[in-house]
């Protein structure tokens, strides 16, 4: 990746849920470009459309109108199978509530994704990379929240995605473990060159991004580059 290519390009993206009197416009014509290797935070209050935007970029939701191009794929018009193929190869998700499978160990949770997308199993290496080398065979119930989220990050990385999409990754974590996870995401971004998009309502987290995109009422209300982002360990909330 050169850092000049566009990882994400949205033009006039709209998303409407429901019809008639109960219709809700979650996104109202969003134009956004994100370069490969950027660490972008989508910031906004509840209902601002940030998660909808993330889901559309990730191919788990579709725009009602507009152009969505991610990692070179034009997502508009792709059917469910093609979108699944896109998710398999291009993007990785990290969710607020980890969503680990309780009957699989940490290593197996990661390996399962590798199996599903038919990639070689690097689960042990990935877990060591996220600092869980000594917790490989622990089941989720035996891991702390931060550890579970780190497993979730490793799981997302198992596919070697170009774009990592994180929805409130620290929302269920305390400060210390939240910092650990953010630090890990920064590491993935800096050392591996992956594009990372983090959705949060926590303004503090925005200070560690390369760029902060603010959403309000389904539209972009601000887009600012951070010249000197902080390290995750310096964040306080």
């Amino acid at each position: 990746m050169t850092g000049l290519e566009l990882a994400v390009e949205l033009v006039g993206v709209r998303r409407r849920y429901g019809e008639g009197a109960v219709a809700v416009d979650a996104l109202r014509g969003v134009d956004l470009s994100i370069r490969s290797g950027e660490f972008v935070v989508l910031l906004g209050p509840s209902g601002s459309g940030k998660t909808t935007l993330l889901n559309i970029v990730g191919g788990i939701d579709s725009a009602t109108d507009g152009t969505v191009r991610v990692a070179g794929h034009d997502l508009a018009g792709l059917d469910a199978d093609a979108l699944a193929e896109f998710r398999r190869t291009c993007v990785g998700f990290v969710f607020q509530f980890f969503n680990l499978i309780p009957t699989l160990t940490a290593r197996e949770n990661v390996a399962l994704i590798a199996e599903l997308v038919e990639r070689s199993d690097r689960s042990a290496d990935l877990l060591r990379a996220v600092g869980l080398g000594d917790r490989l065979d622990h089941f989720p119930a035996a891991l702390s929240g931060g550890e579970q989220q780190r497993v979730a990050v490793a799981r997302a990385l198992a596919k070697e995605p170009q774009v990592l999409l994180c929805d409130e990754p620290t929302g269920a974590l305390d400060l210390d473990t939240g910092r650990q996870v953010l630090s890990l995401l920064r590491h993935v971004n800096r050392e591996e060159g992956r594009t990372v998009i983090v959705v949060t309502h926590n303004q503090v987290i925005a200070r560690m991004a390369d760029r902060v995109v603010r959403l309000h009422g389904g539209s972009i209300s601000g887009d600012e580059a951070i010249i000197d982002p902080l390290g995750a360990e310096a964040l306080e909330w």
Binding site: T51, R88, F139
Partner: protein, 778 residues
């Protein structure tokens, strides 16, 4: 409507398919209960009604001083109804179109208005002293040979004599046209009954009539005590046999059938209700888990445990009430259908079909209680939820661990998807056990039904192909001579022939007596399979007689043929044969015991591709042949009579399959809804719908496969119990399965689990991935 009641209605509506599946299972159980129980009751009532109307004999005494016996019985308290009569088994000839049918029929003497064993005239008229040569034909014979009033029947009494049909009637003694207890499965081709004036029967019977006294107990009498009194009088007057109504061949056969309904009325509903309860338990367990947050909120707001318990019990009761009302209504209809199908297939007139209000009430109560009981466990769990814990919204996980299979060396490197499927079996052990039990119950229902079919089919095959090896039996006017044997062998299509004789006998040991048929075969007979050589001078007995007569091999019994004094004979051994409890010896010994009462015959085996009709026509035309019995015809008759049995078992098979589908469908639904977040996460990660659906299907297959061995064992034991309950001196059934039957069952259950792949795939495809992964909304 209270808000909780509204919640109940909406929750039920939201998962209506799963609730409908539970209700359907309960409905099937209640319907089977209602249908089987009411049919059982209707059939019992129908028989009781017709027996009462036609004054069916409570006791039939054969032989001895019948005048003295009749006088003695008439003197008993209450003034019992008594008739004396004569009957005889003699050859009949019926001409139908250009064909002549020869059979060994029965003529029964009858007064014009008998006080016992009256006839129900269906066409024509009854016996009339003014027309002494006129006869009344029993309905089965008339139907089989298409005989109408005014037609003729020939009977053999030294010469062939022609009798005119005056009427066609139903007799309580021949509702099931059985020749005797040892010959219950008689083909109408081989046996028919003609009622005639006493004098005519005495004339036709010649030297070997059976003199009988038929007796009906006074109304309201203690029938068992009355039977004992008649028995005492009969014994004192040298009667050869005393037969109670329960032992009467037609009644015994019908009562055995009715008893089968009684068993179905208990066993199958229980299976369905248990399965429905298991399905409801799985469904409601899941409901409670997903509503832990709501329950916690209600508890935190001071909602009493009891109200919560009642609330969740109501979910089970709703499915129970809906299912059992539908089942009760369906059961009423099914009972009417079964009763009318059964009675019309057997040609039983005066069928009684009552409305039994208690049956649907019991069905609804039991169905509702089953639903509520199934809900009790989840409801109690709900009422015991600690508010603080529940409000966190996290369902406490059991301790996750590796499956047993993975601990086997060499299987540790299984794909993660396979490991996931294996571990999910133990993820919710109660649910896995409930589902496994449901599958096992379906297997029990299907295997026991198939087992009954297999057993009957294999037993028929054994009886009519391996034990009885003849294709036909020719009854002769006099013992076979070399000329007749040569003439039989010369008929194209005849492969072998062999003489045999038959005689009705009473075998006794001390105070125990049993009426049966004695057959004498050639010492090295090729027409009947015996495991040991036929004893010369001894008897081989059907093995039920060992316990009936309390006799063992090497001991002596008394053998009496009507008109001859009892002779002591050694029991050489026992034979295990599925139908009847007969006695066998050599032809010479049988002749010695029976004297002039022996009925001579020739057993004939055909070539494999013989034209059976042509062979029969040629054989009955031979001089000296007075009656013909087609063994294959008997087999065919049995198969036709079993038509209703096959229909009932077919319904059970259908219900069993529905049960399997319902149980698996509910488990799958619960599995899917419980793992919505996981599946959505995997979908978000790019997991293909087909791959994820295969994972779920793999789990179902594993669950079904794990339950199958238990189902097979339980099904086999149930089938064995069911078959053994038919055992008596008339039938000896041991459960037998074709090797393919369990394999087919296993394949069918696995196929159902595989079929569940379709809804599974559809549900996974329809997952709202974005919403689920974000909100953890289930």
């Amino acid at each position: 409507m209270s808000l909780l009641a509204r919640k109940l209605v909406r929750d039920t509506r939201r998962q209506w398919v799963q609730f409908a599946a539970v209700a359907l299972t309960l409905a099937l159980g209640v319907a089977v209960f209602g249908a089987a129980y009411d049919s059982y009751d209707n059939l019992k009532s129908s028989y009781a009604h017709i027996y009462d109307r036609l004054r069916f004999a409570d006791v039939t005494v054969t032989g001895g001083d019948t005048a003295a016996i009749a006088a003695g019985v008439r003197g008993l308290a209450g003034g019992p109804a008594v008739e004396t009569r004569v009957q005889a088994d003699i050859p009949f000839r019926v001409r139908r179109g250009g064909e002549v049918h020869t059979l060994l029929g029965r003529v029964v003497g009858q007064p014009p208005a008998p006080r016992v064993d009256a006839l129900l005239i269906q066409r024509g008229r009854g016996l009339d002293p003014a027309r002494p040569a006129g006869v009344v034909i029993e309905r089965h014979m008339a139907d089989h040979f298409h005989l109408a009033v005014g037609d003729t029947v020939e009977v053999f009494a030294a010469t062939w004599r022609t009798l005119t049909v005056e009427g066609i009637a139903v007799s309580p003694e021949y509702l099931w046209p059985a020749r005797d207890r040892q010959d219950l499965l008689t083909s109408p081709d081989d046996f028919g009954v003609v009622f005639a004036d006493e004098g005519l029967v005495a004339d036709l019977a010649g030297s070997s009539p059976a003199h009988q006294v038929v007796v009906r107990a006074p109304r309201g009498a203690d029938v068992a005590a009355f039977e004992r009194q008649v028995h005492t009088i009969a014994a004192a007057n040298d009667a050869a046999d005393v037969m109670t109504q329960a032992e009467q061949p037609s009644n015994a056969a019908l009562q055995q059938d009715v008893a089968g309904f009684g068993q179905l009325a208990v066993l199958f509903p229980v299976l369905f209700l248990v399965a429905a309860a298991l399905a409801a338990y799985v469904l409601l367990g899941r409901l409670v888990r997903t509503q832990r947050g709501q329950i916690g909120m209600l508890r935190a707001n001071g909602y009493p445990r009891r109200r919560l318990l009642r609330h969740y019990l109501a979910y089970g009761a709703i499915a129970g009430v809906a299912g059992s009302i539908a089942g009760a209504v369906g059961g009423l209809g099914l009972a009417l259908w079964l009763t009318s199908t059964y009675t019309s297939s057997l040609g039983i007139p005066l069928a009684v079909a009552h409305f039994h209000p208690l049956t649907p009430v019991i069905g609804v109560v039991v169905g509702t209680v089953a639903g509520a009981l199934a809900a009790f466990g989840p409801a109690r769990t709900a009422s015991r939820v600690a508010p603080a814990e529940a409000m966190r919204g996290v369902v406490p996980l059991g301790v996750a661990h590796r499956s047993v299979v993975e601990r086997v060396p060499g299987l540790r490197g299984l794909p993660v998807r396979t490991r996931l499927a294996l571990r999910n079996l133990g993820r919710s052990p109660r649910r896995a056990v409930s589902t496994g039990a449901g599958v096992a119950l379906a297997a029990v229902l299907v295997l026991s039904s198939l087992g009954m079919l297999d057993t009957v089919t294999l037993v028929m095959n054994d009886q009519f192909h391996h034990i009885q090896r003849q294709d036909a039996q020719l009854y002769l006017a006099s013992p076979a001579d070399a000329n007749l044997q040569a003439a039989v062998r010369a008929v194209p299509g005849v492969a072998a022939e062999e003489p045999a004789i038959e005689a009705p006998v009473v075998i006794s040991n001390g105070g125990r007596r049993y009426q049966t048929a004695l057959t004498g075969f050639a010492p090295n007979t090729a027409m009947h399979r015996f495991d040991a050589a036929l004893p010369d001078g001894g008897l081989l007995l059907g093995d039920a007689l060992g316990s009936i007569l309390h006799v063992g091999a090497g001991q002596t019994v008394d053998v009496a043929v009507d008109g001859n004094p009892p002779a002591p004979v050694r029991v050489a051994g026992f034979v295990h044969e599925p139908i009847g409890s007969l006695a066998y010896t050599t032809i010479a010994h049988a002749q010695q015991l029976a004297g002039g009462n022996a009925l001579p015959s020739l057993l004939v085996r055909y070539d494999a591709h013989a034209d059976r009709t042509a062979v029969r026509t040629a054989l009955v035309d031979l001089p000296g042949v007075v009656a013909f019995r087609d063994v294959r015809g008997s087999e065919e008759t049995v198969r036709q009579l079993l038509g209703l049995f096959y229909a009932i078992v077919g319904v059970m098979l259908l219900f069993g399959s529905i049960l399997a589908v319902v149980v698996l469908f509910n488990t799958l639904s619960v599995n899917l809804s419980e793992r919505t977040v996981e599946l959505a996460t995997l979908r978000a990660a790019g997991g293909r719908v087909a791959t994820l659906a295969r994972m779920m299907t793999g789990e179902n297959l594993l669950l079904v496969a794990a339950a199958i061995p238990a189902g097979l064992v339980a099904g086999w034991l149930t089938g064995r119990w069911l078959m053994s309950s038919f055992n008596s001196d008339l039938y000896h059934f041991t459960l037998r399965l074709r090797p393919t039957t369990p394999l087919l069952l296993v394949a069918a259950l696995l196929a159902i689990a595989l079929l569940m792949h379709i809804p599974s795939r559809r549900s996974i495809r329809r997952l709202d991935v974005a919403r689920v992964v974000r909100e953890r909304a289930l």
